[in-house]
Symmetry: D3
Subunit: 323 residues, 6 copies
């Protein structure tokens, strides 16, 4: 109950109202994840930085992934900061939100420039030790990883994905099918520093599997996941990267997950990872000290059921933040 001044200097006392504050139910002992998030102010420091990259106009098929930065942030409000598995509360971890990069309505080249510049400016603040970029379609990984490479030097990338995303750029420019091709062709990353997990049958072209092989990309199919187990495979993947890279970047295309668990991805299909497999794989990877950035892409809230895919994305974030 605060004392305030109304018109004409009369003291106004609101017993219940708090204009501008949330009126939702508060349990005194529970801290929701979104309660630990505040907008970045110049000079401020925190633990995790968040940035929205709401571009999906470059998707080959119609995509509403541009709405995902909002829906994933909202999903954080459904979960708490406490891990029972580790008996550890992360309520003091400070998450700084740098907002969303404004997307140009018709000029995608301009938008890509804005994305790279903004990611770079964010990490240049050195306000946090780790960052999460919320796509958007997978096309945002090209500018985002480029910014990380400029900041940190040699970047290793672990990509969870049903698709290689190594398409040629002649047939439609820089779409959501081309980011890793662009990164390699532009010399931002080495093929051998890229690991792909969850590549699925009948979801790629031979030419791009060949490209992956020819550029020494480390590719693990769903068959590999079933054979080796996701834990072992993830362990192995980290060892590939940890000795040669300055920084590890995680790129989580949610369509690596089976359509039953992630029904809101633009390119859904059966036979993918379970939610549990993805979460434990990301947990393992995120715990490595070289990991500095992660993007979560290809969540289309306009096609989802009850924000299930945004909820899973929020859990991916928590597994990444709370290590």
């Amino acid at each position: 109950m605060e004392e305030r001044c109304g018109k004409g200097g009369e003291p106004v006392s609101f017993q219940y109202l708090n204009p501008g504050r949330d009126a939702r139910f508060k349990d005194r002992h529970t801290t929701k994840v979104d309660e630990t998030v505040s907008y970045y102010e110049p000079g401020e420091t925190g633990d995790i930085g968040i940035l929205g990259l709401p571009l999906s106009k470059t998707s080959i098929s119609l995509s509403g992934a541009s709405e995902a930065p909002g829906s994933i942030r909202r999903a954080l409000g459904s979960y708490s900061t406490y891990s029972g598995e580790k008996d550890k509360s992360y309520e003091d971890m400070k998450v700084l939100d740098f907002g969303d990069v404004p997307v140009h309505p018709t000029d995608n080249e301009e938008t890509r420039k804005r994305l790279k510049t903004s990611v770079k400016e964010m990490i240049d603040t050195e306000a946090c030790s780790k960052y999460v970029m919320l796509g958007g379609d997978h096309g945002v990984s090209f500018p985002s990883i480029s910014a990380f490479q400029e900041k940190y030097g040699r970047v290793g990338v672990i990509q969870w994905d049903a698709h290689h995303d190594l398409r040629n750029v002649e047939d439609g420019g820089r779409t959501n099918g081309t980011p890793f091709r662009s990164l390699i062709e532009e010399g931002v990353i080495h093929g051998e520093d890229l690991v792909q997990i969850g590549i699925r049958d009948f979801s790629n072209a031979k030419a791009y599997a060949d490209y992956a092989r020819n550029h020494n990309i480390h590719t693990y199919t769903m068959g590999d996941v079933e054979e080796k187990g996701i834990h072992n495979l993830t362990d192995q993947v980290i060892q590939i990267l940890e000795n040669k890279c300055n920084c590890i970047y995680l790129s989580v295309d949610m369509d690596a997950v089976d359509q039953a668990y992630a029904p809101g991805c633009p390119a859904i299909g059966p036979g993918g990872l379970t939610a549990r497999e993805l979460l434990s794989s990301v947990s393992l990877a995120a715990a490595h000290p070289l990991v500095k950035g992660m993007d979560i892409v290809e969540v289309d809230p306009t096609k989802d059921f009850r924000d299930m895919t945004s909820r899973l994305a929020a859990h991916v974030m928590m597994r990444y933040m709370y290590v």
Copy 2:
């Protein structure tokens, strides 16, 4: 492009980012209604005050009307401040948002107390000349109108509604079917100061129509609307109230509108007002200088299609604000 300071005192310059601000597309000549809304700060004054009354636990049937204060506010972002009919722009009209009254999860009596207190505290600020209360179910009109009566004295009420909302309180307490019964029984308003427009066949009980008659409530059915025309009828209604009341309060139960135009009300049905009829009726009424308050109730966004009912509610607000 603002100069800011990062960690270690380095100046940080964000070219595109504005953490905490909206990244949505901005046309330099267009002002969206939500751009004229800001949260109330003590001592501030404006033109219109908004307050959310998110109570629908008291509804007889399952209702998500508690979500409407949020969905109606969001709908304001789809429309602009300019009326072509009047060739008048309202971009300088200042709307102050007092937030939402926190609802108690299990104690409805406590919630009703909070609602009345908060409405009273808001109008006691005298920050604005007119106020909009966003329900919630129709039960919120009891505390809300009670607060207006305490502030302004004799209150006349124009209620757009398919139902009388004059049920007895013995059979279930103060539900969304009882507000005008409560107001009359508690002596807050006189029956003769209440006008009901749009009362529909097979949506009420004889006992309550009799109650209305016995208490001199002015009741206009859909048959009356068809016969007299909504313009004439509204004019007539205002004349009933303007000479005897200190203040006129509009109570818009969206289910006065046909289900085709307001598919998101809890108690939908055919044969009601068209959207155009409601909008022109509210426009006419809202222009009267005695009108100080309006509530919009019984919008359930969880049952709606593409927020059509919240959009219509937003237009009702604009017709009320922009006279």
Copy 3:
């Protein structure tokens, strides 16, 4: 609170429970329409008889109209027995429900036989003065009207419909597009005793418009409705039939109504009747003493939004019952 006996002869007293009875909220002054409905018992008499004819396997396109007898009955629970326009309560009107005719899963000829037999058996009870048949698709009107003709002799039919339903039976047997053709060809009704209201452009074939003309069927298009007004047109229609028929049967194909007001019909389209137009037309017609039966067809609850079309159908029933 009833005294009852438990196991071992112990008296059991349930304070709140009433196994087999409805636990929904009861306002002592309100009678919902479904509270006036009870299942027919041999020898019982009432005012209105209801029978479900859940056949839609004969529809040309996939149809779930077989679910409508249930959804329309449930919609009756949302409305009350009181008309404010007439200030008249119909709570004492007794509605007898004869249940649903069991449909054969694969033999449609058998089903049609069951429908006709059951309608005939129902009206042969002479338990009620008027009956409502709930389809199903429009194909049910053939057996239903046949039964009425056997009972009452010369039958006049008023059909609200966007379509003539006069298709040939060679191209697919007796589908939902053929009932009135069958009735005429089988000598059940005379073409001149059939009135069609609401026939819509681009929804019929010239051959069937010609058939209507050649058989002296009275056809009123949407253009006629707009020109004459639905009140005048309905008055005129009744006069055509009242002097030459023993009985008038109303056949309400809900797709006479515009898709905005009846979104759950299988064959929706724009440019049809408004809900208000249909309701006032049915009201006028139903008030005539020769009217003995009505069917409501082509409501597909599986395609509807919030049972809007079943709700409108329920209002059609109330306008028919409560004259």
Copy 4:
């Protein structure tokens, strides 16, 4: 039953199958509209040409209007070629489909060039006397009308729309809010040759209403529609254009229609035209001999309910084709 040859020269006789042909039910007397449509072959002539312009990446807000050329074509399969109002069958009218212009995934400037070129190439065939362009968002009207101007000279435009679509192009390039601004600024049309019907309150900015006035655009608001009646207003509008233009082009933005009747437009809202009003207005306009082209835009099938908006668009097409 056709004689055909199988492997090894054996005659194969398919009794029921017709690979590549439609297996849907056929009534011998009914011609569905889509049965009169065939793909254009070089040198062929017909009555109406159709072209899909599936661009909606330039929309300010997320839009799936790129899916509308398909959904509107499919809706033609639900309606027939016979008008009862005129007792006239149009089954011999030949509709030539020129297919869809391929849209570039990331380069909108390139796409706009393709649209204009393709519309021009289509009308240059002189295969038909009238053409329908199926959007896409309203941005497609700029290239489409440009092509008509090149072919026919001075073009008059009747635009049904809630919005002026006269936004500046500095704030986001050529979006769906800018087509008529672009047409005027590029000298393709004169302001005085543009008529706008259905302009709605709180859906535009003052700056653009002023622009319309300053450029002598003829603007009719919803208030004008209510006051004058849609028939009179349409008649008047045609007279404005018929003496000074070589060709009249109709541009139907479906959001001119109230959200109850066109729930699938990206920018829905209450208070617009009814379906009947739009259909009779288009009918009147389309009957004029100067009318050579029409576009139908802003139908987003991914947001629609049961393709209601595509169905209404199909009826707009029929009113245009069948005069």
Copy 5:
């Protein structure tokens, strides 16, 4: 075919109709589960008792779980009484339905009293050996287990749940987050007699995990399930309770299950039990002779997809009943 008497004593014979009986298809060899359910009559005995506890007004977030008693009962009609795994038919098992406890529209304290009283009255009939209570939200377990404790003495509880449900009651009264806290604080059960299975990360607060530990509650997280396997874990859990309790009560919060398998729970999320894991765990537990009662809670049919969650709940019931 029954002989019956119509009006005037005429014998009426219905060949197909059976007013008040089900008209759905009947295979002579198949017994659907709902065919074994009848409403309890005083003095009757059976095998399993069912009672609906449709309270969800006490939920912290908006919940339609009050609709679940109906939807779960309807789901029983989709499944049969035969287990192939055991080659055993349960068609002779008699299920008695005690109906639904009427909920007070506005007074939750009163409702809770009615729930406890009604559960107690049901089990006091001693009509059955086992009972199923259908929630409602998890708040119903407090009155339900209280009734069992009064009847049977020391009660052990196995709770499948993502959440501890041990919240303090100061912050909002007795919500759906508080039942087990209330049971312990009110001395109804001992902490050591409560087992929680499926507790999930980021879904609880540290304070409540600590409370569980301090009160010797046996907690098994999803990590424990993955490590031990659900079979072993369930076996172990039963051994904890069987020697010290008079009665075991199962409390199944459906949100223990992953959102892919139970999409209709109010608080869905990824990383939970699979449907197979829940079903085999409940099967194992239910087979123990001490098990007397089970509740199934937190199914919200208004948010579900195709009643998938109610269907899973129905299978939980069958696993419980058919041991």
Copy 6:
């Protein structure tokens, strides 16, 4: 860019348009599965034949499975011809589509005759080595397998299904519950040549489990799947059939799959196969050289979410085709 002739002999050159061809985005290296499909022309040969059997009017419950041939074919457009697991591209495999068998609107016996005749005529062309029949409900397997038996002699059948589909035909004729009963009773197959995988508890009647046993049908329940593992079980099943049959036919009722993975089946439920289990089982079986035909049935696209079940069905087809 092709040269073409317009009206009057003018050469017309379309730079972008290709009337009648697909305008969708084309990546030069990717071949979508639907690009390998063409309609059968007499005398043509290919690898796989496809035939649609769109019958679901015979389903016991309302079913839209008749729409599945279309939705499954469309789903092929979302996937490519390359298997990464095998590093093998199947872009040169030629798929011939024989179209859909026209279904009679009201005469199911006639439809069944058409189905059998058409399947027989297709395989009599000997145009392909393997065929896929797309249902429709499971009733189509009776005519389809009958045709295979006439062509190839002794047929072994592997059926993935939650249900036996061995119902008696007296209670409703030949529904979707009777195909394998019909096949055995009509002497088309031997009981011992039928293998059923995935039979689920509470989804069948004892009488039909007994029938299976008495006719030596090989039945594997979900319990068997869990115990043996789907790989071993499938291997074992093939060995049962390979030595005694001339041809193996796979019949995939999609409801063998858990509702989380196949939400669009008419008779969904929990506790079934995962998508991965079904896909690997079909892969194993399809690789056997005796396999000549497969049907995929009980996909109801009108009830599905985002065509998930049609997508899974498409993957089943790819696993069958690409061995």
